[in-house]
């Protein structure tokens, strides 16, 4: 699966976006392709009057992909807790870990 690439005006760019092309200024590479942008780096680019950057577009997952990830996470948690038994504290822990891992998917 290829990840789509998008041009972004700098003032709309967000920390955490990944550069899909070097950011250049007068023949110098300011930031290389693949950089995960931090707020400080974005501020630095603004200072150097960079107008727009090329980033990997956020991945939009299909319903089927989300379902597959959900099943994989549930299996992993069940595997890690396979010796947990019926102890109430362990069951509460299992539910908390499960909920945490699933909230990361959607």
């Amino acid at each position: 699966m290829s990840t789509p690439i998008r041009r972004f005006p700098l003032d709309q760019a967000q920390p955490g976006m990944v550069l899909a092309a070097d950011v250049m200024s007068g023949g110098n590479v300011l930031l290389p392709l693949g950089t995960v942008l931090s707020a400080a780096q974005l501020a630095g680019l603004a200072k150097r009057e960079v107008g727009e950057i090329v980033v990997l577009a956020p991945v939009e997952r299909s319903a089927a992909e989300i379902e597959a990830l959900r099943v994989a996470q549930e299996r992993r948690v069940q595997r890690l807790f396979r010796r947990a038994g019926s102890d109430a504290t362990m069951q509460a822990l299992l539910r908390a870990v499960q909920a945490y891992r699933l909230e990361g998917i959607e």
Partner: protein, 279 residues
């Protein structure tokens, strides 16, 4: 097949390479009732590896000052002079024992779990108002007895591991069933011999039986951090198991499950720090 006893393993600790004179001197100095920041900084600077490690801890995302702590003296201010003794213990012992390469033993998984537990412990400590630095060090060293066993008694360790794999049981159970003792006893003996701070020694000793320690002990925090690290896949792997969470330790810590989920996220966000803890 030769049988080993806890006494055999403990007697063998004397044959481990000793901590460097610089580290020993620093730990001795830090035990004095009055310490001078300049003196401490000077002593740390004599061991470049140690100095680099302390700077890395001070610059980790946990303290929110990434890249801004440039000198040992600044690091001492960020970390607090009182916590430096435990941090030095952790950094020195970890780098010292990382050189114990063991054939057929996955040292990477061991240290991944140790670093993960250190991150979890630090995050829990901040939440409940305990010392993050003591918690970090205890987390880093909590399973050190297991590394000693694998490094010094590989044949015995292989038997434990085979038993664990065959029964799919907890590593702690496998140690007790095969050897009649476990890694917490080996770790506690090493901690006593190398004069770790008392709180760290107790946490290593009791992290699998925190209910036997008084309320508010570092052992109960490390117990929960250990569980948390496994739940976050430190180290991961097909055979890994989340240890049995003690309801006594959990209730004493006084966290709610919603809060706990948030803390899982906080540690996840620091994952990058785990690799840097040990590089």
């Amino acid at each position: 097949m030769s049988e080993i006893t806890l006494q055999t393993v403990v007697a063998d600790l004397d044959r481990l390479p000793a901590l460097s004179a610089v580290v020993q001197d620093l730990l001795d100095y830090l035990q004095q009732p009055e310490v001078d920041v300049g003196q401490v900084a000077q002593r740390i600077a004599r061991d470049p590896t140690l100095a680099a490690r302390l700077l890395r801890v001070a610059n980790s995302s946990f303290y929110g000052l990434q890249g801004q702590v440039a000198t040992i003296a600044d690091a001492l201010v960020v970390l607090g002079l009182r916590s430096v003794r435990t941090l030095v213990t952790g950094a020195a012992v970890a780098s010292h024992l990382q050189s114990l390469a063991v054939a057929g033993y996955d040292g990477r998984a061991f240290w991944s779990h140790s670093a993960g537990t250190a991150l979890c412990a630090r995050t829990l400590a901040r939440q409940v108002g305990a010392s993050p630095e003591n918690a970090f060090t205890a987390g880093l060293l909590h399973d050190i007895g297991r590394l000693i066993l694998a490094a010094r008694f590989p044949e015995a360790y292989r038997r434990v591991e085979a038993h664990r794999a065959q029964r799919d049981c907890y590593p702690l159970e496998a140690e007790r069933e095969v050897l009649g003792f476990d890694h917490t006893q080996i770790g506690a003996a090493l901690a006593a011999r190398w004069k770790f701070p008392a709180e760290i020694t107790a946490a290593i000793s009791w992290h699998h039986s925190p209910a036997d320690q008084p309320d508010g002990s570092l052992a109960e925090l490390i117990h929960v951090a250990d569980v948390m690290a496994h739940a976050l896949d430190f180290p991961g792997g097909e055979d890994d198991l989340v240890p049995q969470l003690s309801s006594v330790a959990w209730n004493r810590l006084g966290l709610g499950w919603i809060e706990f989920r948030r803390l899982l996220g906080e540690v996840d966000a620091q994952r990058g720090d785990a690799d840097r803890v040990l590089e």
